[in-house]
């Protein structure tokens, strides 16, 4: 049948898309084609690393946490650091998919699916750590308020219980959000594939047909979900920050922690988004859908913004430590810069506060190689930020006699690596199973052909 190709039409900001709905469906469904050898190797690689982490965990369970490098008074170290790191990663996804949706920011459509996937799996990874790090992992469920014979309830005054609720809520809601957005796309895939895959996607699409009635409820619901996810994402990392801010440890006990952590979280998240989709778009041959001039430029601007907020927060921490006249705070921050952990302290400041400032230049923002390198700096820097906050603060609090330094061990690194394997494994599996780019929302951006031409 004759389909009149539409003339290039613009987004609000004049960025052109020269595709038809058919192209979109075709290109995205193409990403689900049979996996390349590279993909399989990558997948097996991540699985192997994950198994290594699993083995480490088993040793911890069987013999005791002692294998990790804990050195009192440092009772939290690499595991909690990595926990906060992964929770933080998640935030960028929700920001892009929910908050930017509310802001009606058109550039998000091409990337939001991948970031949302990242969110779900990052939070899934993070959720493992509270279990890994406790002394008696097999009774972690005691943190849940389940009815029991002895009427023992958890202590809702404890930030750790807030964590349990915040993280589980965050995971549930963002997973729901992802699956919900996925349904129409799965339906689209269903209508393109054949054989057993059709059956599978058919079931997965829970009978979605895109009728007017379905869209009517769907669009509303999607709006509300976005509206609920927005305060949630802000709350989650605030709660995580309160794990520290509520305590009285110098270097933790700060009022700026919530906004500071949220900014950091989004910063680290976008860092990870860049690390993921720069190779991904090439691998899946969707370069034309996610472009440097448009999508990456915007992502980079967001990075610049949050990075600068961090810059301010770091400065503020030191200022407050000095201005408070509190000797304990002052010692902590002095030693953070010049004490035994100076290297970690400066890594965090350089990677986060300074490197992000390169993004003032459009040349850098639109240069994928540069962005990729910067994104690696961001990931490293943000891991070290948490390491510094947790370990260096604990290493020198009130009683000098108790001060000591940490020596991370193979058990620390094993679990850390394992978490990346776990995350990578799920992300890769998803990318080959479900549309990593949102078909339906991109189509929404592309005007349908008109008999009378012109614009609505």
């Amino acid at each position: 049948m004759a389909v009149v190709a539409p003339p290039p039409v613009g987004h609000g900001d004049g960025h052109a898309i020269t595709q038809t709905h058919a192209d979109v469906t075709r290109d995205v469904v193409a990403t689900l084609s049979a996996p390349s050898r590279g993909y399989v190797l990558l997948l097996l690689g991540s699985a192997a690393v994950f198994l290594m982490g699993l083995l480490t965990f088993l040793i911890l369970v069987i013999d005791g946490l002692g294998h990790a490098g804990y050195q009192p008074p440092i009772f939290w170290s690499v595991y909690i650091t990595t926990f906060v790191f992964w929770v933080g990663i998640g935030h960028a996804g929700t920001l892009i998919s929910a908050i930017l949706f509310l802001f009606r920011s058109p550039w998000r459509t091409a990337v939001y699916r991948s970031t949302e996937v990242m969110t779900v799996f990052a939070v899934m990874t993070a959720a493992l750590f509270p279990i890994i790090h406790i002394g008696r992992q097999w009774i972690f469920y005691w943190l849940l308020p389940y009815p029991n014979q002895r009427y023992l309830w958890p202590n809702f005054k404890s930030p750790l219980i807030w964590d349990v609720f915040a993280i589980s809520t965050y995971f549930t809601v963002s997973a729901t959000f992802l699956v919900f957005g996925l349904v129409p796309d799965v339906a689209a895939v269903r209508d393109k594939v054949t054989g057993w895959r059709k059956t599978v996607y058919g079931l997965a699409s829970v009978g979605w047909q895109g009728t007017d009635n379905q869209w009517r409820h769907y669009s509303r619901a999607y709006l509300y979900l976005a509206a609920l996810a927005t305060p949630l994402v802000l709350s989650v990392h605030s709660v995580v920050s309160w794990d520290f801010a509520v305590s009285i440890v110098p270097g933790w006990h700060g009022t700026i922690f919530a906004p500071y952590f949220v900014a950091g979280a989004i910063y680290s998240g976008i860092g990870m988004v860049l690390t993921l989709i720069i190779p991904l778009r090439r691998a899946l041959r969707i370069e034309h859908m996610i472009t440097p001039e448009y999508h990456f430029d915007n992502l980079a601007k967001l990075t610049l913004l949050t990075g600068s907020i961090l810059f301010y927060a770091y400065g503020m921490e030191y200022f407050v430590a000095w201005y408070s006249g509190n000797m304990f705070e002052q010692t902590t921050f002095y030693r953070r810069a010049f004490g035994p952990y100076w290297w970690a302290g400066w890594t965090m400041i350089i990677c986060n506060a300074f490197v992000s400032q390169l993004l003032w230049f459009r040349k850098v923002r639109t240069n994928l190689t540069a962005l990729f390198i910067i994104s690696i700096f961001i990931n490293v820097g943000m891991w070290f930020e948490r390491f510094v906050i947790i370990v260096s603060s604990l290493s020198n609090d009130y009683v000098p006699w108790a001060w000591d330094q940490l020596n991370p061990s193979w058990a620390d690194w094993g679990i850390l690596a394992g978490s990346f394997g776990w995350f990578g494994m799920w992300f890769l599996l998803f990318a080959k199973t479900f549309p990593i780019v949102a078909i339906q929302e991109i189509k929404e951006m592309i005007p349908m052909p008109r008999k009378r031409g012109g614009h609505h």
């Binding site: 002394g135 305590s247 009683v399």
Partner: protein, 1001 residues
């Protein structure tokens, strides 16, 4: 029984088997399993009169860990001793017990004990034999040897040592009473100066001014507990007074760290200093025997300044202060009394005490303290061993092969003896060379007594069935005598117990006690018979002998450093090295555990460019050892020092191959002493490094007011610490407006109201503690008591290196001053334990209420509920929470050590947090008792383990809600402060600031 016990691991059946084997565990044993022993057990149908399951039974006994002879109370549960505490009635230690004494328990249950009589095979291995066989073998050998018999025994005096004396005499053999740190030079000096052969008692309590010439009277010299008690009375701001302690020695030991002034004199120059002081006194006060003035004339402060390195002005000031304070006291001991000039030093100190008029005041003769035979006797024996004049040697309560410097060649001489017999409980270095092992009972397993001093007869009684197949040494002698017959035939008592009783019958006669049964039971109950020591025998200056003399020590060896070695505060002369408590609880001075170290002064460290942990090689003509450096501000820069006690080649798995033995460096003795100061040492950097197993983080307070102090004047005026600071212009009042205060207090009040719910309503007791830093000497007795009471696991060196020691109660030692070269350095000790805060930061952060507040003000920790998030530990500002990183509970008590566990206290599993509970088991025990007797708890009717053990009584525990309680009164003491008070966590522990004497030039 022995085999069951030795084989036993911590499984229930074995556990009960062992219980069953021990008196009174009957009911349990019946419920346990059948063993050869069962028919002997009495089921509780017939209740044994002193056993109530679940309740402790206490027996009085005597400590034999050193020759001081302190009285102990043994706490037994179901027939197992689980804790040793001091016997309050005993005049020596008055209810206190040092770390080494408490650790006797780990000697009793030590896995390294010899489990029965053993004989050496031709191939050199040991083979278990029966007692009859063993006795027969010894009897035979004695027959062959005739009078060529030698016996080496410990210094302790009592029925057994008398028996041993007679027995040896009957054989025509020779007996050497050997004590590693014998006090022969002191006795020699007493002979010289006073014509008295005795060792006097030193009454520190009466002293107003104390000068110690290297005598570590708080820890390793004399009768430490008695002296610490006296020191607390004199120096602890009782009655608003603080007696000044000046410590003159090249190195500060624990006593030095408690001194108000340290004079870092040159090694071996003590005599010059003492004589100069005496000289100043005599020349200024006169009124002394004329000859003395002449004898002293040569020893001017100028000369002393030359010899000691202490300015003459200081010496004169010291002498005047010493004379002005009546009575004062000068002491010589430790290394100062263990070198070529030792006798001179002791004589000089005697003269100093005499001219200051301290004899009969603070120096009291007449107590007849037991003394060893001095080193010459042992050296003589070694010579005849070499000459092959000894056919049989019997070693009892001594380990000379280890404690004698290698240079003495004792070990080789000992090897030459035809037949060597040891009664040692452990396979120590000496026993390892022996041909026959006749392991004797542990002191807690046998009948015996000790005479620590005139008028004090201290009893021992068996408090459990022998853990292994051992015999009392006395019975060994008696049975051998019967077997051998001949000259020994007259030792025919049916058993040593019978012999002991007969001796006590005689004693009863002497003491004019008619009813022996009553006398005996009284003695058993009170741990002995205590009579006033005879009035201080008047001693006068034996002028003709009072040669005041000083010779500069002649040191062998090459090298820029003088080498010192000294008794290890925990391991003493090495006898502690098989007891995990003593190995793990850090040395109170250096805070290093588990291994040897070499102390280097800060200046010397800069010169050598070494830092903590760098391994140095020390060599003298006698030998070479390697040990890691500990940069110690309390030692002269021209001296290096190492502790004794490690470097064992035998003595059980805990001790073997751990650390090095500095005795290998020492020169051979040539007199009545072992020369712990005798040689220079060449120091070489190996370039290797090891982390010190130190429990110290940063040993500076950084102005955080953890161990506070207050000047004497301010304290006498009754100022608070803060006021004292303000007076000194070092602080200012926090001025709060009415509104602020109202807001704060109003809020606090509201919060409090909101907590009055459920169990928390109404007036409950509030348990609290007060710790007086003016009295704390940092001696570790409380720490060991805490380990014993609360089943605290020893985690081992490799865990201590990761900072994972489990010291619920630790003693922090902070340096003051000494940062600039030449600036005087001093130490502050502060016992740090859970503060049981009213607003405990650890509690709200626990997600599962494992950490919570009890209605009686305790900071509870529910081990079963703990999931191990460790947030509580992060949020504890005092860092007094400890985590079970591994299954310490399965590693720390290798059988039969697990028998020491206190059944009243949970053994914590892996993965849970633990901490000080204020000995809640004792609190609840007392509450139950009070409830049974339907009365309120009386203040002081019970206390925590640490408070019970503290030799200087610096810890007081009680209910602060009871205004009449001691702790309530101390909490109001102006010197009182709370550590990190500004955090508003409201700790339940009040510290009383240390009182500082005004600093002097």
């Amino acid at each position: 029984m022995a085999d069951e016990t030795t084989a036993s691991t911590l499984d229930r059946r074995k556990f009960l088997t062992v219980l069953g084997a021990t008196t009174g565990g009957g009911a349990l044993a019946l419920s346990g399993c059948s063993t050869g022993k069962v028919e002997k057990l009495v089921p509780y149908l017939v209740q044994s009169e002193d056993q109530i399951p679940g309740l402790a039974t206490w027996y009085a006994s005597t400590c034999t860990e050193c020759s001081t002879g302190c009285g102990v109370h043994v706490r037994t549960r179901e027939g197992r001793p689980v804790k040793l505490e001091g016997n309050p009635e005993h005049p020596v230690n008055r209810g206190k017990l040092c770390s080494r004494g408490q650790a006797a328990l780990q000697g009793l249950y030590n896995p390294g004990r010899v489990k029965g009589p053993m004989a050496r095979n031709p191939d050199g291995s040991f083979q278990a034999i029966t007692w009859d066989d063993a006795i027969a073998r010894l009897a035979a050998k004695l027959g062959e040897a005739g009078s060529r018999v030698a016996v080496i025994s410990g210094a302790g005096r009592g029925t057994f040592s008398d028996l041993l004396g007679d027995w040896t005499a009957a054989l025509g053999g020779r007996l050497v009473r050997h004590e590693t740190f014998d006090r022969e030079p002191e006795r020699a000096a007493n002979r010289q100066v006073f014509g008295s052969d005795q060792l006097p008692l030193y009454d520190l309590g009466k002293a107003r001014y104390i000068v110690s010439f290297g005598a570590d009277f708080l820890d390793t010299w004399g009768a430490p507990l008695e002296q610490a008690r006296g020191f607390a009375a004199a120096h602890g701001f009782e009655g608003g007074q603080v007696a000044k302690l000046v410590y003159a020695a090249p190195r500060m030991d624990l006593t030095g760290l408690n001194a108000d002034q340290w004079l870092p004199i040159k090694p071996g120059s003590e005599a010059a200093l003492a004589l100069a002081m005496a000289q100043v006194l005599v020349s200024e006060r006169g009124g002394q025997p004329a000859g003395l003035a002449g004898a002293l004339a040569a020893y001017t402060p100028a000369l002393a300044a030359e010899e000691t390195g202490v300015p003459a002005a200081t010496i004169e000031r010291l002498a005047r202060e010493f004379a002005a304070a009546r009575p004062s006291l000068a002491l010589a001991g430790g290394v100062a009394a263990q070198h070529a000039g030792a006798t001179e030093v002791c004589a000089a100190v005697n003269i100093l005490n005499f001219v200051a008029g301290n004899i009969g005041e603070t120096v009291r003769f007449g107590a007849e303290l037991p003394a060893a035979d001095g080193h010459a006797a042992l050296a003589g024996l070694a010579r005849s061993m070499n000459a092959g004049e000894v056919g049989v040697v019997l070693v009892h309560d001594a380990n000379p092969v280890y404690t004698q410097p290698r240079a003495t060649g004792f070990a080789d001489a000992f090897r030459k003896v035809g037949y060597k017999v040891s009664t040692s409980l452990y396979l120590d270095e000496t026993a390892a060379l022996c041909d026959l092992l006749l392991p004797q009972h542990h002191a807690l397993e046998r009948w015996d007594d000790l005479r620590p001093r005139a008028g004090v007869y201290s009893l021992m009684q068996p408090v459990l069935e022998p853990v292994f197949d051992t015999l009392p040494a006395g019975d060994i002698l008696l049975r051998v005598s019967q077997k051998a017959g001949g000259a020994l035939a007259r030792f025919n008592a049916p058993s040593y117990e019978a012999h002991l009783k007969s001796r006590w019958q005689a004693l009863a006669g002497e003491l004019g006690e008619s009813d022996f049964a009553a006398f005996w039971h009284g003695a058993l109950q009170r741990g002995g018979v205590y009579r006033e020591p005879p009035a201080a025998g008047a001693v006068s200056l034996a002028l003709e002998n009072a040669q005041a003399s000083y010779t500069r020590p002649a040191l062998g060896g090459e090298g820029e450093f003088t080498f010192l070695t000294y008794p290890h505060p925990m391991l003493y002369d090495g006898r502690g090295a098989n007891k995990p408590w003593l190995l793990e609880i850090a040395d109170p001075v250096t805070k290093i555990s588990w291994h040897s170290w070499v102390e280097v002064g800060p200046g010397a460290a800069r010169r050598l460019d070494v830092r903590d942990g760098e391994i140095l090689e020390l060599s003298t003509p006698q030998g070479t050892v390697e040990a890691p450096v500990f940069v110690y501000p309390g030692i002269r820069d021209d001296v290096v020092a190492m502790p004794l006690g490690l470097g064992h080649t035998a003595y059980g798995a805990f001790a073997e191959g751990r650390g090095v033995n500095p005795l290998d460096l020492l020169a051979a003795p040539s007199g009545e002493y072992v020369p712990y100061l005798s040689t220079r040492v060449a120091v070489r950097k190996t370039g290797r490094y090891r982390k010190l197993a130190s429990v110290a983080g940063v040993a500076r307070q950084l102005g955080r007011g953890i161990a506070e102090s207050i000047p004497l004047a301010a304290a006498q005026k009754g100022l608070t610490v803060e006021q004292a600071y303000i007076e000194a212009g070092l602080g200012h009042h926090e001025v709060n407006t009415e509104r602020e205060l109202e807001a704060v207090h109003g809020w606090a009040e509201e919060q409090h109201e909101a907590t009055q719910y459920g169990n928390y309503e109404g007036e409950n007791p509030q348990w609290a503690m007060a710790i007086d830093l003016a009295k704390c000497t940092g001696c570790n007795a409380c720490v060991t008591a805490c380990y014993a009471e609360n089943n605290i696991p020893t985690v081992g060196e490799e865990q201590v290196l990761k900072g994972r020691e489990m010291t619920w109660l630790r003693i922090e030692r902070y340096w003051e001053g000494g940062e600039e070269p030449g600036e005087p350095v001093s130490a502050r000790f502060v016992p740090m334990l859970c503060q049981h805060c009213a607003n405990a930061p650890c509690e709200p952060v626990c997600p599962v209420y494992a950490a919570y507040h009890t209605p009686d003000g305790l900071n509870g920790q529910v081990y079963n509920r703990c999931v191990g998030t460790r947030y509580c530990a992060n949020n504890c500002p005092y860092k007094v929470r400890y985590f079970n990183w591994y299954k310490y509970n399965e590693r720390a008590w290798p059988a039969p050590l697990h028998l020491q566990l206190n059944p009243d206290v949970t053994v914590r599993a892996r993965g849970v947090m633990e901490k000080c509970t204020f000995c809640i088991q004792r609190i609840r025990g007392a509450q139950n008792q009070a409830r049974l007797e339907d009365r309120p708890i009386r203040d002081g009717e019970f206390t925590t383990a640490c408070a019970q053990a503290c030799p200087s009584d610096c810890i007081v525990f009680g209910n602060v809600r009871d205004p009449s309680s001691r702790v309530a009164r101390l909490a109001q003491n102006p010197r009182g402060y709370r550590v990190l008070e500004d955090l508003n966590v409201r700790p339940a522990i009040t510290y009383l600031a240390k009182v500082l004497l005004p600093a002097e030039a």
